[in-house]
C-alpha cells in the first residue's frame, strides 16, 4: 500500500444486510440472535408451496420462498420443483413456461433446457451441441403431496439431498400418539394432515409484513383481544377471553424429539394458564356462554396448530411462509378426516358457507391487519431491540429461542430475485399498475394480444 494513502474506515452498508451482532447486550438478547438474523426466513425446511388443485396436469407455477425462486410443474402425473432462475442470464422460466416434453422445461428466452428430475442443463434449443450441456444446472427441491397440499423442501444449493428430513419433522405433533404427553380431556383427538383420509381445505394470500411478526401473532395469548368483536364469536356465543395469562412455570412444554418436529405446546384451558374474562376498571366483561376450548402449539419452520378449532374434529394449521424480508404467504388450512365422499362433501359445504367467510376471512383477517400494524416498528430491525415485552410474551420469547436452536439454516437475503430490490423500476411499474408485490411470478401475457 502507498504510504501516502490515508487509511479510512469503511462506510457501513445497511440495506439487505443481516443485523450486526449486538455485543453490548448479547446475554439478554443473544439467545435468539439467530432468529433476529432470520429476516428472510429459515431455509432447509419443508414449506407448503401450492394446493394440489392449483397445479393441475401440465401446469407450471412460479413462487418465491425465503428469497428462493421456485418453479413447480406437474407432468405425466409427476411433481417437480426446480430453481426458477436460468443459470444463463437469470430469467425466471415460469414467467412464460415453455415445455417440449414431460421431463424437462426450457427457458423461453435463449432455450436453455433443464431436466426436471436432476436440474441438469440437458439441451439448448438452438445450440444442441454446446459444450456447456451436461456441465451445469439448477438446484432441485424435494416435493411431497399430502391431503391436497404440495410441500417443497426449500434448500440451500449445497444442502445435501441425503440429509433432507422427512416431512413430518416440519409438521405439528400428532394424535393419538401424543395423548399421554399432551392430554386433551375437553376435545376429541386432533386430526393431522398425515392421517389416512385427511382432507385439507384452506386458502393462502400474501401478507405485507415480516414472517416472524406474522408467526408470533398466532400463539401470542394476549392477541385474542383483536377478535373481541368478531361475528363468529358472538353468533355462536363463544367464551373468548380478553386474554390468557401464564399461571405456572410449566405453561409451555418444549417439543424437541429427535425423530420429530421441534416446537412448543401451550397448555391452554388447564390450570397452567388463566383466562381473563373481565377488566373491572375498564368496564369490560365477556358475557357469552358457550365454552370454546382450544390449544395452540407451534413448530419449526413456523407452523401453528390450533386444536379443536373452529369446531370439534377439526384443526386449523397456519403457515407464515417467508417470501422476502417484508412479505409472507399466509396459509390458513382446516384439516378434517373424511372417511367417505359424503363426509368430504359436508366438510366442503361447511368450509364454503361458514369457515371461509366467518373464520378464515372474518376472524383471521383481524390477525392479518394486526401483523401489518406491527411491521413498520420492526422493518428496520430496531423494533427487536426497542420492544417492551410483558408476561404474556413468554410465548414468543420461548419460540424465538427454540427457533434459534433448531432451525436448519438462516436464509440469506434474496439476491437477483423478485422484490429483493425495493426500488426497482419494474416493481414500481407493477405497483403503478395496481399489482401488489406477492408470492406468484408475474406471468408474461401473450405478446400478440393487446
Amino acid at each position: 500500500m502507498n504510504e501516502q494513502t490515508p487509511v479510512r474506515r469503511r462506510r457501513t452498508v445497511s440495506a439487505n444486510q443481516i443485523a450486526a451482532e449486538r455485543m453490548n447486550d448479547e446475554k439478554t438478547q443473544g439467545q435468539y440472535q439467530p432468529y433476529k438474523d432470520a429476516a428472510w426466513g429459515f431455509i432447509n425446511h419443508w414449506y407448503p408451496a401450492l394446493f394440489s388443485e392449483e397445479l393441475p396436469e401440465q401446469k407450471v407455477e412460479g413462487i418465491q420462498i425465503a428469497g428462493v425462486p421456485i418453479l413447480l410443474r406437474r407432468a405425466a402425473g409427476k411433481l417437480y420443483a426446480i430453481k426458477d432462475q436460468c443459470v444463463h442470464r437469470g430469467v425466471r422460466l415460469s414467467s412464460k413456461p415453455m415445455c417440449f416434453n414431460d421431463t424437462s422445461i426450457a427457458c423461453w428466452y435463449h432455450g436453455f433446457n433443464y431436466d426436471l428430475e436432476t436440474g441438469m442443463l440437458n439441451n439448448i434449443v438452438a445450440n444442441p451441441d454446446s459444450t456447456l450441456i451436461g456441465k451445469t444446472g439448477v438446484t432441485t427441491y424435494p416435493v411431497q403431496e399430502v391431503a391436497g397440499m404440495i410441500f417443497v423442501f426449500v434448500r440451500e444449493d449445497d444442502f445435501p439431498l441425503e440429509d433432507v428430513p422427512p416431512l413430518h419433522h416440519d409438521l405439528p405433533v400428532r394424535f393419538p400418539e401424543n395423548n399421554e404427553r399432551f392430554p386433551h380431556p375437553l376435545w376429541p383427538d386432533t386430526p393431522s394432515l398425515l392421517d389416512e383420509g385427511a382432507v385439507a381445505m384452506g386458502m393462502h394470500r400474501t401478507g405485507q409484513s415480516n414472517w416472524r411478526i406474522a408467526c408470533e401473532n398466532g400463539f401470542d395469548n394476549a392477541h385474542i383481544l383483536v377478535h373481541k368483536d368478531n361475528t363468529i364469536v358472538h353468533a355462536l356465543d363463544w367464551v373468548l377471553p380478553l386474554g390468557i395469562l401464564p399461571a405456572s412455570d410449566d405453561a409451555i412444554t418444549l417439543i424437541e424429539d429427535e425423530d420429530g418436529p421441534k416446537g412448543q405446546m401451550q397448555w391452554l384451558f388447564t390450570d397452567r394458564w388463566k383466562p381473563v374474562l373481565e377488566n373491572e376498571a375498564l368496564g369490560l366483561k365477556v358475557e357469552n356462554l358457550k365454552g370454546r376450548f382450544y390449544r395452540t402449539s407451534v413448530v419449526l419452520p413456523g407452523v401453528l396448530m390450533v386444536e379443536n378449532w373452529p369446531e370439534e374434529h377439526c384443526v386449523q394449521y397456519e403457515w407464515y411462509v417467508p417470501i422476502t424480508d417484508d412479505m409472507y404467504e399466509y396459509w390458513e388450512v382446516l384439516v378434517r378426516v373424511c372417511k367417505t365422499d359424503e363426509d368430504r362433501k359436508k366438510f366442503k359445504y361447511r368450509f364454503d358457507t361458514v369457515y371461509v367467510p366467518l373464520c378464515l376471512e372474518g376472524f383471521n383477517d383481524c390477525d392479518l391487519y394486526a401483523r401489518e400494524a406491527m411491521e413498520e416498528f420492526y422493518a428496520d430491525g430496531t423494533g427487536w431491540d426497542d420492544e417492551q415485552l410483558v408476561e404474556t410474551d413468554i410465548s414468543p420469547v420461548v419460540w424465538r429461542k427454540l427457533a434459534s436452536r433448531w432451525n436448519r439454516g438462516i436464509a440469506k437475503p434474496g439476491k437477483g430475485v423478485t422484490n429483493a430490490t425495493k426500488t426497482g423500476s419494474i416493481r414500481m411499474r407493477r405497483l403503478a399498475e395496481g399489482k401488489a408485490p406477492g408470492y406468484f411470478v408475474e406471468k408474461i401475457e401473450n405478446v400478440n394480444k393487446r
Binding site: 487509511v7 448479547e26 443473544g30 451445469t136 444442502f159 440429509d163 436452536r405
Partner: protein
C-alpha cells in the same frame, strides 16, 4: 488402447512456474482434460464466451474446435490467445496461464484495520476486535491465523481468528497478556478504539476440513479457544446435518477462563455441541479440576473416524495427540496448531 496420434501431450505452465503435463485425447478440449486431472483451471461458461479459461499458446499447434465460435477476436487468436474450453491440441503443445497454481487457495495479503474494541475478558486475556479498513480485504479458512504488527513497533505476533469469514470485515482475536510483552504493553497501555493496525494473513494449515460428518473433538488450552470458536460458528452455518462437537476448554485457573457466555450461547444454538471446562488449579462451579485432555475419556466412545482439532501449548498438543490415539482416533484425523509464548 489409444495410439499416440490420438493423444497429445499438452504442457500447462501457471504464472508461479508450476508446470503440468496432460494427455489430451483427440476431440477433447484442454479444459476438460485439465479439470479431469484436477488442475485448478479457471473457467465458467465452458462454451467459448466468458473468457475465464483464457491461455496463451507458447509452442505447438492448437486451434479452437472447427466451426465453433468464441469471444476471442481474430487478432487475439493471432497473438496466440486461446480459450481452453474450445481448444483441441494438434500434437504436442504448451500453454501459459495468467494466474498461478494456488489460485484456489487464499494467499496472504497485507491489510489495514481499525480497532473496534479492546476489552479485558479474563485475568490475562484481552479481546481485540478489528475491522478491515476501506479498500482492505482478506479472507481465510476457520482456524487460520494472521500476523499483527504491534502499532508503533515493528514487532509481529500471530493470532488465530475467533470469528468466521462470514463476519468479515470484523475480525476478533483473543490475546494472552504476558508480563513485559510488546503486544501486551500496547494492549494494556495504549490501544484505543480507532487505532489503525496492520495485519497480514491468512496463514496456517490448521483449518476446519469441509463437510466431515463424523464427530468432532476440539481440545483448547487458553487462547487456543479462538480457532475453535471460528470453527464452531462455521459448522453452525454449514448446510446439512451437523456433526456432533465435543469441545474441551481448559485454563490454568478459574480466573483465566473466558468467552464462557459465548460458549453457552453456542451450546444453545447448536444442539450437538457439548462443552467441558477444566482448570488446572483452584475450583470453580462450572469447571472440573485437571487438564482439558483428560476431560475426554473412553466413556465418550469416540468412533474411529472421529476428527480432532487441537490448539494450545506444545505440551498439551503432544499429550492430547497420544491420548486421542489411545482412544482409537486415527493419527491422520488429528489436526493441531500449537503456539508458544513469544519472548518480550
Amino acid at each position: 488402447m489409444l495410439t499416440s496420434a490420438e493423444v497429445s501431450e499438452v504442457t500447462l505452465t501457471f504464472a508461479d512456474g508450476a508446470e503440468h503435463v496432460l494427455a489430451v485425447e483427440a476431440g477433447q478440449n484442454v479444459l476438460d482434460a485439465g479439470l479431469a486431472a484436477g488442475l485448478p483451471l479457471l473457467h465458467q461458461c465452458r462454451s467459448g464466451s466468458c473468457s475465464s479459461c483464457l491461455a496463451r499458446l507458447t509452442s505447438g499447434h492448437a486451434e479452437h474446435r472447427a466451426g465453433a465460435s468464441s469471444s476471442l477476436t481474430p487478432s487475439e487468436k493471432a497473438e496466440g490467445l486461446r480459450l481452453l474450453c474450445m481448444t483441441e491440441a494438434q500434437g504436442g503443445c504448451s500453454f501459459s496461464l495468467g494466474y498461478d497454481s494456488k489460485v484456489g487457495e487464499t494467499k496472504p495479503v497485507v491489510a489495514q484495520s481499525f480497532v473496534n474494541a479492546v476489552e479485558r475478558v479474563a485475568a490475562d486475556v484481552v479481546r481485540l476486535e478489528l475491522e478491515l479498513a476501506e479498500g482492505s480485504w482478506m479472507t481465510f479458512r476457520p482456524g487460520q491465523f494472521i500476523n499483527v504488527t504491534v502499532p508503533g513497533t515493528d514487532v509481529v505476533r500471530s493470532y488465530s481468528m475467533a470469528t468466521t469469514p462470514a463476519d468479515l470485515p470484523r475480525i476478533e482475536l483473543f490475546i494472552r497478556l504476558l508480563p513485559g510483552g510488546v503486544m501486551s504493553d500496547w494492549l494494556e497501555n495504549r490501544a484505543a478504539v480507532d487505532d489503525v493496525v496492520t495485519i497480514e494473513g491468512p496463514f496456517g494449515a490448521f483449518f476446519l476440513k469441509d463437510k466431515v460428518k463424523a464427530p468432532h473433538v476440539m481440545i483448547a488450552g487458553g487462547t487456543g479457544l479462538a480457532p475453535m470458536l471460528s470453527m464452531i460458528d462455521t459448522i453452525r452455518a454449514t448446510p446439512g446435518k451437523k456433526p456432533p462437537v465435543l469441545l474441551s476448554f481448559g485454563c490454568q485457573t478459574p480466573e483465566g477462563l473466558f468467552a464462557l457466555d459465548r460458549l453457552e450461547l453456542r451450546g444453545h444454538w447448536l444442539p450437538g455441541l457439548e462443552t467441558r471446562l477444566s482448570v488446572d488449579r483452584g475450583t470453580c462451579e462450572s469447571a472440573r479440576t485437571g487438564n482439558p485432555v483428560a476431560a475426554i475419556t473412553a466413556d465418550d466412545a469416540l468412533p474411529p473416524d472421529a476428527v480432532a482439532y487441537l490448539c494450545g501449548p506444545p505440551g498439551m498438543i503432544a499429550a492430547a495427540r497420544a491420548h486421542l490415539e489411545a482412544l482409537g482416533l486415527s493419527s491422520e484425523n488429528i489436526f493441531a496448531e500449537h503456539f508458544t509464548a513469544s519472548g518480550a
